[in-house]
């Protein structure tokens, strides 16, 4: 299966926007870094037509080492969840997104 990477995305910015290759790569990095910073601060990142990245607080629970059966405490932590928009879900199913349900 093909994998799209930073290089592909930077190349598309280069051809679409007409910035230099270097600057295109830098801007892609800035986009990802700004999103990461907001998430790090516990803020949600809501991209209309794409989806919402949010931070969820998980409580302490008792886990188990599957190999030994030993109980291990899992400490409270914060995890990142992504909720795709209706538009993105429609695209991966090859259907025309319905309008008005974007989030």
């Amino acid at each position: 299966m093909n994998t799209v990477t930073r290089a592909h995305l930077a190349e598309t910015i280069y051809t679409q926007v007409g910035l230099s290759r270097n600057e295109s790569a830098d801007l892609l990095e800035t986009v990802l870094e700004r999103m990461s910073r907001a998430l790090e601060a516990g803020e949600s990142v809501k991209i209309s037509g794409f989806g919402t990245f949010s931070v969820r607080q998980k409580g302490r629970r008792v886990g188990r080492n599957p190999k030994t059966g030993e109980e291990v405490p899992i400490l409270p932590r914060r995890v990142l969840v992504f909720r795709p928009s209706h538009v993105l879900k429609a695209h991966v199913n090859g259907v025309q997104p319905t309008h008005g349900e974007d989030e």
């Binding site: 995305l9 892609l28 803020e43 809501k46 991209i47 931070v55 990142l80």
Partner: protein, 107 residues
């Protein structure tokens, strides 16, 4: 943070670019990711995370109100798994009041 706030931050950090260019950059990024997923490809951005498409088998669902059985077709769902670096940053990160944003405000 919304799409427009992201665009505003990028524009402020890159005063030499036009607003139109910044908007185009942001939409290009998300459209490319969407396009790749629509083709069934995966998008891997080291340190940030990976977008993939997961298949869900057809199943028999139930209307929770009437209890009636309804067939649910097989479908594909977009999935994002945070990369190691981002996962650690999010877990380590402080709530907004103590975070980088609040520091900037109080400075």
């Amino acid at each position: 943070m919304t799409r427009s706030e992201l665009i505003a931050e990028l524009a402020a950090a890159n005063p030499h670019l036009t607003g139109r260019d910044v908007e185009l950059i942001v939409s290009t990024v998300f459209e490319e990711i969407t396009g790749a997923l629509a083709r069934g490809e995966r998008v891997e951005l080291r340190g940030f995370g990976a977008f993939t498409v997961k298949r869900r088998n057809a199943r028999t669902g139930r209307n929770p109100r009437t209890g009636e059985a309804v067939p649910v077709d097989e479908k594909a769902v977009p999935f994002f798994k945070a990369g190691k670096e981002l996962r650690e940053r999010v877990n380590r990160g402080k709530p907004a009041r103590g975070g980088a944003k609040a520091e900037r405000v109080s400075a």
